[in-house]
């Protein structure tokens, strides 16, 4: 039977290939949506890992997280200058580091902060090359295309915006951070004092405001207490993880919509294949009749049609998983190049369930033409 099936598939290779490709595309669509959503979710969660508590001026919590964790440029309202000082003296706070935006170099955001942030991003280790000491010293993320010792002049405005170059001020790269798989890999970190100075704010007079402060509380209880205290009319305090969870809910809704679209596509493909194969079985009624006339049992006729189709669709499903994975891998790599966040593309245990579900569906669809073949009368073999 296997030899007959192989010979048959070889003879019908063009139609077989089309069925395999149709199934592969339909499966890849569903797999791709699942994998991509998962990659975005896992990648963003890992990116927010080091950001326990972020405090900003009253406004959008989501925007605060997007700007501080993912360095998405947006005009954030400034916190009053005394908030940072107050946090730094708070006994519940391990460190509080300002995050000041405003400038960029090439496509990299230039972020003003303090050594505490560098420490946190680099897991406590000193940056490769050295730690910044002076106002003109910059530390770069692992994906920034600059070398240690190189100088550059920052440009006012977000990366890609048309802005003027701060020719009066230049930085020198003194250190490089380890790769973190986050947007901060593309960041250039400079002293916050330098950012203030470039923009005409002077720390000596009264402390200038900052758009966001990263706070590392000493304990979990401290974290909750601090969040409670800084949630008010003037300030907003968020756990980025919590904000992301809300975003995932939205992302999940979008995935659900796309999954329904994928499911519809899969149903269309299933219908098309059912039609093609039913027509094919009808075309082969003489051959099937001949098999029966020569003594093949009906179960063998059913088996041949069913196994042939299931082989094709099973191959298509396997290929679809591969194609889906490769496509999401390529998309995710492109996204990582653009914003630094590493998106992990991985299968999980539940995906096996999806594969099994698709296989069961394929088995059911294959059974339709197989049943027709089974029920085909044997007399069809003889000329009439």
């Amino acid at each position: 039977m296997i030899r007959f099936i192989l010979a048959d598939l070889k003879r019908l290779w063009a139609a077989s290939l089309i069925i395999v490709l149709l199934v592969a595309l339909a499966a890849a669509l569903g797999v791709g949506i699942t994998l991509q959503e998962r990659a975005l979710r896992l990648g963003s969660a890992r990116a927010a890992d080091k950001f326990d508590l972020v405090i900003g001026a009253a406004g959008s919590e989501t925007q605060l997280v997007l700007s501080s964790v993912f360095l998405q440029p947006a005009p954030l309202p400034l916190l009053a200058g005394d908030v940072l000082a107050k946090l730094k003296q708070d006994p519940r706070v391990a460190f509080a580091a300002p995050i000041g935006f405003g400038d960029s170099f090439k496509t990299y955001p230039v972020v003003g902060s303090t050594p505490d942030l560098i420490n946190a991003l680099n897991n406590g280790a000193a940056p490769e090359g050295g730690t910044p000491a002076g106002e003109h010293d910059a530390v770069i993320g692992s994906a920034v295309d600059l070398t240690i010792g190189q100088s550059f002049e920052p440009m006012h405005g977000a990366a890609g915006d048309a802005g003027h170059v701060h020719t009066e001020f230049s930085y020198q790269v003194v250190g490089r951070l380890m790769p973190t798989g986050t947007a901060w890999d593309r960041a250039i970190i400079v002293p916050i004092e330098a950012v203030w100075e470039i923009h005409g704010l002077h720390a000596e007079e009264e402390p200038p405001g900052v758009p966001a402060i990263l706070v590392k509380p000493k304990t979990i209880a401290d974290a909750y207490r601090l969040r409670g205290e800084y949630r008010g009319d003037q300030t907003v305090a968020v756990f980025p993880g919590e904000v992301l969870t809300r975003l995932y809910a939205t992302l999940g809704d979008a995935r659900q919509v796309m999954s329904i679209i994928a499911l519809a596509a899969q149903a269309l493909v299933a219908g098309a294949i059912a039609l093609i194969t039913i027509a094919h079985v009808a075309q082969r009624r003489r051959q099937i009749g001949a098999l029966r006339a020569f003594g093949a049992p009906r179960s063998a006729v059913f088996g041949i049609v069913w196994i042939e189709l299931l082989t094709l669709m099973g191959t298509g499903i396997a290929l679809g998983f591969l194609v889906g994975w490769v496509a999401v891998r390529l998309i995710s790599d492109q996204l990582t190049r653009q914003n630094g966040v590493v998106l992990p593309v991985e299968f999980q245990g539940g995906d096996l369930g999806l594969a099994l579900l698709l296989l069961v569906a394929a088995a059911v669809i294959a059974a339709v033409p197989a049943l027709l073949a089974y029920r085909q009368p044997a007399v069809a073999a003889l000329r009439s």
Partner: protein, 228 residues
């Protein structure tokens, strides 16, 4: 070996006033070689379908030996046919992509009915019908060779009955004569009852007797009826 008896057999199709096959009585003795002739539409193919168990009559009994195959359920009839009847058709129904040997073995394999000696028997049959290379792809065979492979396939399970439906009609006269000779001599060697539907005079003349069908009835029905 098996004798055939048809008793009050009638096959009708809806919408047709007269039955397409109407045989009051017909007997073919075991090991007899009988030709069936008649114009197209006279019911020859229907007769083949009925006596091979591919179809059932609306009325009557189809007895091979003591077994009324018209009374068997479809699966039982399929098995009976596989074990009892060797079938050769006008179209060879060889399967592309399989060798001559695999084609001969295919029906038995699909029924899981291959024993230890089946392979040897298949080789012997292919040699007997003049196919030198058993592993030759059927695509490279001539039409005459194809029909000879089909004859070997029909004989694989040592059937008690050999039925051929226009076995020489799609062959040139030379190949046709070869196949006719093979059918007759193989039937005689194995002691099988041979029933051949044919227009081929040379084949008909070499059979023990010939039946003529006309509009679903045996033209020499009176004679057959008397004989029964």
């Amino acid at each position: 070996m098996l004798a055939l008896t048809l008793d009050q057999v009638q096959v009708s199709y809806p919408g047709l006033e007269t039955p397409v096959l109407d045989i009051r009585s017909l007997t073919v003795a075991a090991e007899e070689c009988v030709a069936v002739t008649g114009p197209s539409g006279s019911g020859k193919t229907t007769l083949v379908n009925i006596i091979t168990g591919l179809a059932c009559p609306d009325r009557g009994r189809v007895l091979w030996g003591a077994e009324d195959i018209a009374a068997l359920a479809e699966a039982r009839r399929d098995r009976w046919r596989a074990e009892t009847i060797g079938l050769v058709m006008q179209e060879f129904h060889l399967f592309e992509g399989l060798s001559a040997l695999d084609n001969v073995l295919l029906p038995a394999r699909l029924r899981r009915a291959t024993g230890r000696d089946t392979l040897d028997h298949a080789h012997a049959l292919l040699a007997r019908v003049g196919i030198k290379r058993a592993n030759q792809s059927t695509a490279t065979l001539s039409r005459g060779e194809m029909q000879r492979v089909a004859v070997a396939r029909a004989l694989l399970r040592r059937p008690k009955v050999l039925i051929a439906d226009e076995p020489t009609a799609s062959l040139d006269p030379g190949h046709g004569a070869e196949v006719a000779e093979l059918l007759l001599s193989l039937a005689r060697e194995s002691g099988a009852t041979l029933i051949v539907v044919s227009h081929d005079e040379r084949l008909i003349n070499r059979m023990d007797r010939s039946l003529t069908l006309s509009a679903g009835r045996l033209a020499n029905a009176a004679f057959a009826g008397l004989a029964a």
